[in-house]
Chain length 475, copies 2
């Protein structure tokens, strides 16, 4: 292996091949569930260097774990503990190669931090609408390889829908220059979407051409109390009809989830939650003016109150108030952590079936696991719930997790699949859900995926063991 | 082969296996460029029957050409002339399996005629926004397998972006039940987008879950004279900014293209074209009201006139006027045919580079091919031009085509690629552009495509020779 390390040092420069010291930032996953050990952390500075690193590793039969900001939630970007894998960090590749305003695109390197791209777009007079909790640390390459979701999917889609073209280093170390500012291109198979969401198991995304959108003239946030999830779904339908594409956010939050925010962050004012089982946060982005946005919002909420979908509502008066409302929503995860250990699920269900799913699955869990507390919230507009399970208030949470996690997962995932849903809506598969995928996804789909993996990465060196397991071709 | 025919008759019923009589509807391509000869035309009535047909053909080593409405423009859905291929027609599978209003989806079988789906959606109170010239005959399965574009891509995307899930019969005759009403699902590789746009070469799409959108409260159409393509691009930017997602159509038409409509269809009133080199058709879909839509449109056009992007404009007063304006746009292709033979190109270029592309390529063609007449029009909002070349007015058009078509294609495609464009924006590859693709697409991309084709269709029996050529595995 020393030969390979020497080659890598020659390729990217000795200072960019890390083998000593504290490599936790690269070897420990974001949620601290898994600590690996890398043969080396390699930080190439260009696409040509990435290609050379891949070629060297392929020749040596050494596997590669690509890594961006290492903020993934499914243990997909840290090495195993064998000490035989290379972590290939894209962090040094953070150039914005081009902004094309007339084409509404920007071409960026994989290591660009998401928040920096939002800022870059804003300075150029545009909106880059991808937005999620880790935006200060995550990279666009990671967003692409996991097809990240976030809070603006309802209007702008997942990362996949924001991407027009890719530059990829294949498992053979070839460079596919598929950067493109084209909105229509029917020249063969959709390689772009195959690499997006493949979590580094088919190749390494080194750059991308992403869509920009015009900045809205105004963005308003409202908070509504709804008497049930059925009413929340009805409100969503009304909002689609009356705000059209102006509807850029529709988040639902259960009473218990909000009570945790109120309990652990008493300085935050959580509106309306005491008297209603569910609250909804709505966002309306308007291309005309703030006055127009407010009129439309008030019209919608009046209609919703007339129809009984909404019992009470507030519209933020200014940006500070809007931020405060979003901050409540975004504080739920942290409030949950303050409350203690819990079991997280990132699931999606057709919107129409969510009320019945929650009703029946809540009942099931409560019946099977006495004292369980359900933290329900998520992107209802996308059918995406973070359906989390908090340990009982009076027991030992660690014991609860140890003894009950598998059972809880089985109950929840079985219910998800029975309702036509997905066991991973926006977080991906990584290592954490590989076994679940084998169990819950159709064998035909798994076989198709395995065929593709074997075709594009015959040595099984690209992030092996993630997403889909194949027999190791070895050497 | 008689054994296979017998098996197929048992599988789908003897009346649905056609071997005699006039099979032109299945064997002759839409633009009458290619007449093939099928071993048989098989019309299964269910997904199970499709799977059984594929299995029988695979066992016999007989290749399959899947076919929907047979309206494709690149000879992708008719058999070759060997008499050894099965045409598998999906026309009998035309059920709408489900409409889920709260989830904004409908699940439909591959053989549904596009226009019927538009009508079905409208009756349920929704809009199914895919719209294109062949909508009265084409099927959604064909739209999906070619990733069809059309006039609403600017706002709603290509067919790809309207699809949430697929049911597919693989090359092995297995059924992948990937129908899904989910807007987020990160459980592995994006099989859906791999089958969409693969033109039946990887498997057969038998059903799909498609997005619906709320019907707009009003839809207005405007027609503007612009002094140059640069001004058209500037107008597009203004329209994006001021109409936001309300901008659902942005078509550009050159003066010569419009003069052909005026010449061959004198009953049509073609507005404004006499005094301007380019006209633009804009469509504004509004979730509020017709008054609001009109106000926003007039505001936009006033602003555009102040800035010099637009020299004159009309907004349709009623639906009949709007239809008349769209009808002019849609009559260009037919007017071209009336004028005589011509060479068609369906290309895309980043929007920002279109003016320079047209300027330089017009000059190039005029210099190399004296008397050539350029018919320029297309979906400027998507960067998609139908950049067509009409034979000189005074010569023999058939001779022109025979002697000049290859040269013209080379000049145009070289220019397209030099401007970062695609040689097939929305029509696909089929047989017609297979050789062009090999020439113009990156070898790395072609190798990736070949690997995928070989992995998913190892016998090369699914629409062989289309999109990408592989060594025939044979039997």
């Amino acid at each position: 292996m020393q030969d390979l390390i020497d080659t890598l040092r020659q390729t990217v420069g000795a200072t960019h091949v890390l083998t000593d010291g504290d490599l936790s930032a690269y070897e420990l996953d974001w949620r601290k569930r898994s600590r690996g050990k890398a043969l080396a952390v390699v930080r190439p500075g260009s696409t040509l260097e990435v290609a050379a690193v891949v070629k060297a590793c392929a020749a040596a039969g050494v596997s590669i774990v690509p890594q961006g900001g290492n903020t993934g939630l499914v243990v997909g970007s840290t090495p195993d503990d064998s000490g035989t894998q290379i972590v290939l960090s894209l962090q040094r590749m953070h150039a914005v190669r081009q902004i094309d305003g007339a084409n509404l695109t920007m071409t960026v390197e994989a290591g660009c931090i998401l928040q920096n791209l939002q800022d870059t777009a804003e300075k150029a007079g545009f909106l880059f609408p991808l937005s999620l909790a880790a935006e200060g640390s995550c990279t666009i390459g990671g967003n692409l390889s996991t097809n990240a979701g976030g809070t603006q999917v309802l209007r702008y889609g997942n990362t996949r829908e924001l991407c027009l073209g890719l530059e990829v280093v294949t498992a053979h170390g070839e460079i596919w220059s598929g950067l493109s500012g084209l909105r229509k291109d029917n020249t063969g198979y959709d390689l772009r979407n195959l690499f997006v969401g493949s979590e580094g198991t088919l190749g390494i995304i080194t750059a991308a051409t992403m869509k920009l959108v015009p900045q809205p003239a105004a963005q308003l946030t409202a908070w509504a109390a709804v008497p049930s999830l059925d009413h929340a779904v009805a409100l969503l339908g009304l909002a689609h009809r009356h705000l059209g594409a102006g509807l850029t956010g529709f988040e639902v939050m259960g009473q218990f989830a909000l009570s945790l925010v109120a309990k652990h962050y008493p300085q935050q004012r959580v509106p309306l939650y005491l008297d209603t089982p569910w609250c909804v946060l709505l966002e309306n982005s308007d291309s005309e003016s703030e006055t127009h946005a407010r009129d439309r919002f008030e019209h919608l909420l009046e209609l919703a109150m007339e129809q009984g979908c909404v019992t009470d509502a507030v519209v933020a008066e200014n940006i500070a108030q809007a931020h405060a409302l979003w901050h409540v929503r975004e504080s739920i995860s942290m409030a949950q952590a303050e409350e203690g250990l819990n079991i997280k699920h990132d699931i999606s269900i057709p919107v129409s079936r969510i009320p019945e799913f929650v009703r029946s699955t809540d009942a099931l869990l409560t019946a099977h696991i006495p004292g369980v507390r359900l933290v329900n919230f998520g992107h209802l507009g996308d059918g995406n719930l973070h359906y989390n399970v908090q340990a009982p208030a009076d027991g030992d949470a660690a014991t609860f997790l140890r003894t009950r996690e598998d059972r809880v997962n089985t109950l929840v995932f079985d219910a998800v699949v029975a309702h036509g849903g997905s066991i991973s809506a926006e977080h991906g598969v990584g290592s954490l859900k590989v076994a679940h995928l084998e169990h819950y996804k159709s064998p035909v789909a798994m076989d198709l995926m395995r065929s593709i993996k074997e075709a594009l990465d015959p040595q099984n060196l690209m992030n092996p063991g993630r997403v889909v397991q194949v027999a190791n071709a070895g050497f």
